[in-house]
Amino acid sequence: MEDITLTINGKKISCQEGTSILNVAEKYGIKIPTLCHHHDLEPFGACRLCLVEEEKTGRLMASCVAPVAQDMTILTDSPRVTKHRRNIVRLMMAEHPESCLVCSKGNRCQLRQIAAQLGVGETDLYPIPNYKRLEQANPFIIRDLSKCILCGKCIRADHELVVVGAIDYNLRGFRSRPATVHDLPLKDSSCTFCGTCVSMCPTGALASKNTKYVGTPEREGLSVCGFCGVGCSLTMGVAGEQVIEVNPSHRQDTVNGATLCVRGHFAHDFLNAGERLIRPMIRKDGELISASWDEALEIVADRLLNIKRTSGPQSVALLGSSKCTNEENYLFQKIARVLLGTNNIDNGGYSSGQRLLRLIDEKTDGGCRIHPLEQLEKAETIFVLGANPDQSAPVVGYYLKRASRKGVTLIVADPRQTELADFASVWLSLLPQSDLELINGIAALLYQKKAYDPSFIDRFTEGFGEYGDGLSSLDLERVTGVTGLDLDILEETAGLLNGKKIAFVVGHGILQQRYGMQSIEALFNLSLMTGSLGHAGAGIYGLARENNQIGAWDMGTAPHALPGRQPLNDVLNSDTARRDWERAWQAKLLPDQGVNVVRMIEEAEKGNLKALYILGENPLRSLPQPERVRKALASVDFVVVQDIFPTETAEIADVILPGAAFSEKGGSFTNMEGRIQTFLPVAPPPGEAKPDWESLFLLAAKIGYTGGNDSLEKIRAEIAELVPMYVELDSQRDVAWVKETSKRKLFDPGGKGGMIPFSSVVSTGDEVYDDIYPFTAILGSVRYHLGSGTRTGYSDRIEELGLKGEVEISPEDGINSGLRDGDMVRVLSPHGSLERAIRLEKRLRKGLIFVPLAVNANDAMNLIGLTELCRPESPGWKTCRVKLEKL
């Protein structure tokens, strides 16, 4: 691109060819009004407000779509330009209803702002209000198209950013408007209620529904979304002490840009739920009664110390939170390890396959910790396995769909035909739990064709020979048998992967399945073989379900790892990590690995667990076999629950400590990319509730801790000082990245870490299915809920949606079982049952049943066995065998 020079408002400017006049002007601080332009959208030229005058020719042109040219002389606010702009605004206003007084866009209406700036008061035109349909038959969005100025931002955001395509312009002239297919209400269209259009709408045509406060918020604050692991950057509007609206933040370097999903945008109304815990509670004579903080903390400290003294530190366990901040998790595990002397600490990330991701970290020695999602759009090839991000982490779904639209080859392996499968070059409809065979099969085909990266393998890996032998002796016929896929489609997939660096995106389909560990190992081999590691836009992207699942692990709320993912037990390196921490904390640390969350329940059943401290988790709802978990926890002498809601778990607690939600405290979250985002409180906690770090500190002090940590800044500074991964964490900046500390040759050419080893090829065992349970049930997320749905369940808007969570079945199986849409069925597994309505879903294959999670108090967990703890710590909670009974 050549550099060219032009003059804007008498100012000489040089810039690159190919950009628009508007972009150049903006870069040089010259403001041009516009209603239809957005930096994330393609230029469109709909509103014409950005028109400017070329002085020499006298031409007026829309600067957003007019490219710069050599020697242009541009005037952005000549009298002529202003006159035309005013006329455009006058015409828009003549068509606009005079409802500003009650319009929720209030002072943020851009039409109103621009009219004010241009001095347009009365239009002096005959008003012809364009009365169009008002739609509000859904819990989230009000569409009042009479206020629509046809800028097309909603349509373009829908097509270009979230790639759903629910709406487009319909009709023309005066009748023109955005509409769904067949003009259906949004609720019945393909709209996902991500609300991106609502945030982008310059007028009041699109507004959030069910707001307790209409108008401009009193103040706004930046925060980070508290739902999934994407970690979207938010602007929260606050009135009084309540968050009344949520929008994507205006910053441009965020993971989500101008998008959000339905949870992030609308489900945060849980923050204002009347059920929030507002004061500490203690159990007296079987009843929970209010208590002062001092009283409650005194009891917690006393009982914990007492139990530690009488039954030993192994009888105490702590469950940290994948939703709480890094600082809180750090403090929590420090309490466990230093003050209570136990490694019995875990977090909710267990069920999302934390152990599996740890495998990659171990193999690369901490070399693959950063996976910027934006690189997916520049990837060579994307291979999605067992992930349905459209529902589970929608913003990741947007990235993948955008990549596909830009021409990136997308391969999707999923037993279900997900929305994403429609965007894929190849959809591999494999049988459940057969990913391992699929991955090995593809690797074997690539090996046959010598389609691997020999120079990468030579320089950075070891053990390829043995791995190759394993691949050549792989029985491809068995692969096709186990996966249910033809050899042709496997060949086609291998052809697409040939010679490419691959970005693997894995979700719970792998991370939660029985053969998860082996699948991840196989995937790691495949990524080594294709040279996909250490390469931008390639590698293994693990979807994180919870907002700070990665951070909780990094901070050491894990039975096997110290902060910074350092091993507790590492005899080969003479336990350097543990020794360092002992010095730093001036305490003796137990070398034995603690118990994970499932083992905690088992230990409780055996009577070995006497005290359990649960921070921001709801195991009675999120773990399998809730009744069994309830019984187990009932047998624990002393249970403390620190949460924001009276959850199922809180109800059986001996002490409840009210916490603050993320928007009510400061802290930092680490997202699935490895991006650490710090944030400040935007609203105060309700009642007497305290930020969790504060109550944890108070507790630590009661237990007898005197080592500082009494402010967020001090905790943060300690993390930055002691955790090599988090050196960039400080209060000065709000975005930092974790550090990759690997010494392996691939990441550090001069490093002493050596080569990355291939592991050997293993296969799944042959499954023998019991005929009594003829179907395989797949448990999966729905976009309206997160995880087990504790928080989203308290959202009025999600509640109003009235999700029934219909169990899906293929039409063929449905007809064979004499079932029709809406029939009630009982789904039974060897572990339990649930009752729901059924829906025949033609996108589902025969033999499968889909059970949505989170709805009905997450009763889907009844079906899964808690002890189905498969080979090394894969949760194995993704699928189970079931039968159906018509009710």
């Binding site: 097509h159 759903v164 395509g165 629910a166 709406i167 487009d168 312009y169 319909n170 009709l171 023309r172 509409a179 769904t180 297919v181 067949h182 393909s190």
Partner: protein, 161 residues
């Protein structure tokens, strides 16, 4: 044309014919309109799938052009001109006569799918004002009696069938 049950096989073959064309959407829609007399709303999804577009985009194009219709039309489509010249020559009364004669309003189709009544901005035959078209035939210098006799011609046509 009375809407018959849509022959989905035929629709699929039309879509296939255009699948690999360049600038293919409008020719495809024209082909469907020609074959079925309208664009069956249910065909939007399959057209979108074949054209690699969102269904909403296809509907946007269909609803933009007056030449495409999502509703089945009558055997005879009447287009009364409401342009300036015709207006001056009394086209409003002509339209009323037609509406009264056919018992349907502007934009509607008679229940027996014989007639559809539309208005257009100009038929380009102002020297014949007031004018109207029935399918592809022009009628000019209309008067109420002339309208009645033209319509009875088409009705007779119906009775003969």
């Amino acid at each position: 044309m009375r809407p018959e049950k849509i022959d989905w096989g035929r629709l699929a073959s039309i879509i296939e014919k255009h699948r690999d064309e360049k600038s293919r959407l409008i020719p495809l829609l024209q082909d469907i309109q020609e074959t079925f007399g309208y664009i069956p709303p249910k065909s939007i999804e399959s057209v979108a799938e074949a054209m690699n577009l969102f269904p909403s985009q296809v509907q946007g194009v269909v609803s933009f052009y007056a030449g495409f219709s999502l509703k089945p039309k009558g055997k005879y489509v009447l287009r009364c001109c409401r342009g300036t010249a015709c207006h001056v020559k009394g086209s409003r009364s002509i339209l009323r006569v037609v509406e009264k004669e056919l018992g349907i309003n502007e934009g509607d189709t008679s229940p027996d799918y014989q007639f559809t009544l539309e208005t257009v901005a100009c038929l380009g035959a102002c020297f014949l004002a007031p004018t109207m078209m029935v399918n592809r035939d022009y009628f000019g210098k209309l008067s109420p009696t002339k309208v009645t006799s033209i319509l009875s011609e088409y009705r007779k046509d119906k009775e003969e069938q």
